[in-house]
C-alpha cells in the first residue's frame, strides 16, 4: 500500500492539529448531516472481512443527510485511537464503527470515555453493561452460515476430512470451526475437521502454507476465518480442493471449486444505527442477528454442489430462517473428551454462552 504522507493520524500528531480542528476552515459539512466513520484493519477490497463492511459503507453514501469518512489498514494498536480522534476532531464524526476485533479494548473503550457525546459501535461480541454507555457492539450469527457450509462440504468430500484455516482461537472463530464440523457431521458423523491457527487476521504466506498443509493432510474441502479468504480460496482451488467461502462471495476467485459461502450483510445493522441517530435516539448497545434478520446470507451454489446437497442445505436454511435454530446441542463433548453440553440441553443462536466459547467439539483435530 502507498502510505499517505499526511493521513489523519499523522496530522493529529502535529502540535496544532487539535486547535486547527476548531477553526472555521475545517471540512465543510451540510447542516444537520450525520458524519459516520468507518475504520478497517485491512484494505477495503480484500475479498473478505473489510470488504464486507466497506460494501455496506458504500451503500450508505447514497443516503440523504449522511457523510461517510473511512480509513483502511489501521493496525490494532494505538494508531486506531489516533484515527478515531481525527475522525471526531477533523471530520466531525459523531458515530464511529471501528470494525476490527482488536480495536475494542483498550482503544475504543479509552476513546468512548474521553468522548462521551460520540457513539462508538464495535463489530464483535465484546460490549457488556460495565462498559461506557456510548459504546456498544454488533455481530451476526455467521456460525449458521458455516453450519450450512459444512453440510455442503460433507456432500462434496470424498476423503471425509475437511479443513479450516483460522486466525485466532477467539469465541467467534471457534464457533465457526465447531459449526462447520457439526454441519458436516449432520450429513456424515464420521467426518473430521483439521484446523490450523495462523495467529494473525491477515498473514498471506502462512495462510497459503496452512491451506497446503491441510490438503497434504487429506482435506479435500477447505474453509476459513481470516480477514481475507482470497489466499485460502485460490490456494485450495489450485491444489484441486473444494472451497467454502467466508465474509463475502469469493466465487469469482475459484468458479469451479467454490461450493458456497457464509457472507455478512452489514447494511441493515448500519441503517438501523444511523436511523436511531437521525431520530435523536441513542443506538442500541448490543445488536445481534442471523439469517432470519438478514445480517447473514449465503453465496450462490457453485457447479460442484450436488442436487442432494442443495436440498439438504436449503431445508436446514429454511429452519434457520424461522429463528432459534440450535447448532450446539447435547450431548456434546469437546475434542479432549470433556462434556460441554449435557443431554437435553441446547444453545440457540442468541445464547450468551456462545459469546465465551473456548473449546473445539469432538471431531475437530486441533487445539485452542
Amino acid at each position: 500500500m502507498i502510505a499517505r504522507p499526511f493521513s489523519r493520524r499523522f496530522l493529529l500528531q502535529g502540535a496544532g492539529a487539535l486547535s486547527l480542528s476548531a477553526l472555521p476552515f475545517g471540512r465543510a459539512r451540510a447542516a444537520g448531516s450525520l458524519t459516520v466513520g468507518f475504520i478497517y484493519v485491512g484494505p477495503k477490497d480484500d475479498y473478505g472481512y473489510n470488504q464486507a463492511h466497506a460494501q455496506a459503507a458504500k451503500a450508505l453514501k447514497g443516503m440523504p443527510g449522511i457523510e461517510i469518512t473511512e480509513e483502511e489498514r489501521v493496525p490494532e494498536t494505538n494508531a486506531v485511537e489516533k484515527t478515531m480522534e481525527s475522525m471526531i476532531n477533523l471530520d466531525g464524526a459523531t458515530l464511529l464503527f471501528p470494525t476490527s476485533f482488536g480495536y475494542y479494548s483498550p482503544y475504543l473503550l479509552a476513546e468512548a470515555k474521553k468522548n462521551p457525546k460520540i457513539q462508538f459501535r464495535h463489530c464483535g461480541g465484546l460490549w457488556s453493561d460495565k462498559d461506557p454507555k456510548n459504546a456498544g457492539s454488533y455481530f451476526g450469527y455467521i456460525a449458521q452460515g458455516q453450519y450450512l457450509n459444512g453440510i455442503v462440504a460433507a456432500h462434496a468430500s470424498k476423503s471425509k476430512k475437511i479443513g479450516f484455516v483460522a486466525a485466532k482461537p477467539i469465541p467467534q472463530v471457534l464457533n465457526n470451526v465447531n459449526a462447520f464440523l457439526l454441519g458436516a457431521q449432520s450429513v456424515d458423523p464420521s467426518i473430521t475437521c483439521q484446523v490450523i491457527f495462523t495467529g494473525e487476521w491477515s498473514l498471506a504466506v502462512k495462510e497459503a502454507e496452512a491451506t497446503n498443509a491441510l490438503i497434504d493432510g487429506g482435506a479435500d474441502v477447505v474453509t476459513c476465518h481470516v480477514d481475507s479468504p482470497k489466499v485460502v480460496v485460490e490456494t485450495a482451488a489450485r491444489r484441486g480442493a473444494f472451497v467454502c467461502g467466508y465474509h463475502v462471495d469469493q466465487s469469482p476467485l475459484a468458479p469451479q471449486k467454490y461450493l458456497t459461502g457464509a457472507e455478512w450483510n452489514w447494511l441493515p445493522i448500519y441503517k438501523d444505527f444511523i436511523a436511531s441517530m437521525q431520530a435523536g435516539k441513542v443506538p442500541q448497545n448490543f445488536v445481534r442477528g442471523g439469517l432470519a434478520d438478514g445480517f447473514v446470507k449465503m453465496s450462490p451454489y457453485g457447479p460442484g454442489v450436488s442436487e442432494a446437497a442443495r436440498k439438504n442445505a436449503d431445508a436446514v436454511k429454511a429452519e434457520m430462517l424461522k429463528g432459534g435454530y440450535e447448532i450446539i446441542k447435547g450431548p456434546l463433548k469437546d475434542n479432549t473428551g470433556k462434556e460441554i453440553v449435557a443431554a437435553g440441553k441446547a444453545y440457540p443462536e442468541k445464547a450468551a454462552e456462545l459469546e465465551s466459547t473456548n473449546y473445539l467439539v469432538a471431531g475437530v483435530k486441533g487445539s485452542v
Binding site: I2, F197, G199, V205, G217
Partner: protein
C-alpha cells in the same frame, strides 16, 4: 500411500527452506567479506514486489526472477555505496535498508495486491518425476529450488577452492593486512554486497512467483531476519546454511502439520516452534564454540577506510 504423504511433506519443507537458502547464502558471502548487512528483510521484500511486478508486465517467470534479483541488487548497491564507499555505520545502514525496502515494496506492489498468477513451472522428467517416494522430491521441483542447491555448492567451491574465495575470506578476517598486501578490499566487499543483495531479492521473488504465488505487503514475514540468524547458526559455512534452512523450513511446515494432526498442543506454541528451534540451535552452537573462540570473520562489521 504413506510414502507419497512423506514425499509431499518433505517437498513442502524444501519449498519453505528455499527462500532462506537463497537469502542466507548471499548474506554468508557478504559477511565472509567482513560486511554486516542487516537489510536482508528489506531486500527480500523488495525483490518479491519487483519480481512479481516484472513477471506480470512481461508474463515471464524467468524475467520476474531476474527482476527480483535486480531489485535486491539495486538496494544492496545503495547499502554498498553508504557502507563500503562512504564508510557509514553498517548496522544503522542495514536497518534503514530494511525500512526502505518495506516502504518501496509497498509502492511497487500497490497495484498488484491480490492479482492472481500461475506458479513457476515444476520440472517434469518422464520416468523420473513419477518415481515412487522420491520422484517429485528430486525431479519435480521448480527452478528456484535447483538454483538454491546449485548456489550452495557454487559458493562452497568458490570460498574454499579458489584463490578469489581465499582473498574474500582474508579480507573478512583482516582488511588492514590485505589492503597492505595490495588487495582491493573495497572492490571485493562491494561486489560481495551486490551478490548478497541479488540473492536476497531472488529469495523474495521465489516467495511471490513460486511459493504462494502472489504479492502481498509484508509477505516475507521476518524471513530476512531468520536468514541472518542462519548465517550465524551455520558458522559462516555454506553447507550448514542449507542444513539450517531445512531445519527452519521443516519446523515451519511441520508445526502446521502438527496443528492439523491435533497433537493437543496450543497453536500459539506450535507457531513459535520454528523460532524456538532457531534460538536453541544458536545457543547449542555458542556453547560448543566456547572452547575454540568465535568462528565469525574477524573484521565483520568493522568500517574500512584505506590510509591515504
Amino acid at each position: 500411500m504413506t510414502l507419497d504423504i512423506v514425499q509431499m511433506v518433505l517437498a513442502t519443507v524444501l519449498a519453505a527452506a528455499t527462500p532462506l537458502i537463497l537469502a542466507g547464502i548471499g548474506e554468508l558471502v557478504v559477511e565472509r567479506s567482513g560486511v554486516l548487512n542487516l537489510g536482508v528483510e528489506g531486500m527480500m521484500i523488495f525483490g518479491a514486489a519487483a519480481g512479481f511486478a516484472v513477471a506480470m508486465q512481461t508474463d515471464s517467470t524467468l524475467l520476474g526472477a531476474l527482476g527480483g534479483a535486480a531489485g535486491g541488487l539495486l538496494l544492496s548497491a545503495l547499502f554498498g555505496i553508504l557502507t563500503v564507499g562512504l564508510a557509514a555505520n553498517q548496522v544503522a545502514s542495514g536497518l534503514s535498508l530494511t525500512i526502505l525496502g518495506l516502504g518501496l515494496s509497498g509502492l511497487v506492489g500497490a497495484s498488484y495486491v491480490g492479482v492472481k498468477r500461475d506458479p513457476a513451472p515444476h520440472l517434469q522428467i518422464p520416468g523420473l518425476t513419477d518415481l515412487p517416494g522420491v520422484g517429485k522430491l528430486l525431479f519435480g521441483q521448480d527452478a528456484f529450488v535447483y538454483l538454491a542447491a546449485g548456489l550452495v555448492a557454487a559458493v562452497w567451491w568458490f570460498l574454499w577452492h579458489t584463490r578469489k574465495g581465499l582473498t574474500l575470506r582474508a579480507i573478512g578476517d583482516d582488511h588492514v593486512a590485505t589492503h597492505a598486501l595490495g588487495l582491493h578490499v573495497r572492490k571485493v566487499r562491494f561486489l560481495s554486497v551486490l551478490f548478497g543483495g541479488a540473492c536476497a531479492g531472488l529469495g523474495g521473488a521465489y516467495l511471490s512467483l513460486a511459493y504462494t504465488p502472489f504479492w502481498s505487503p509484508g509477505m516475507t514475514a521476518g524471513r530476512g531476519w531468520i536468514a541472518l540468524a542462519l548465517v550465524v547458526f551455520a558458522s559462516w559455512k555454506p553447507l550448514r546454511v542449507a542444513a539450517g534452512a531445512l531445519l527452519f523450513g521443516g519446523a515451519t511446515v511441520l508445526q502446521l502439520h502438527a496443528q492439523a494432526a491435533g497433537l493437543g498442543l496450543p497453536g500459539q506454541l506450535l507457531s513459535a516452534v520454528p523460532y524456538l528451534a532457531t534460538i536453541l540451535a544458536l545457543v547449542l552452537l555458542s556453547l560448543g564454540q566456547r572452547q575454540g573462540g568465535s568462528l565469525a570473520p574477524a573484521a565483520l562489521g568493522r568500517v574500512f577506510t584505506p590510509s591515504r
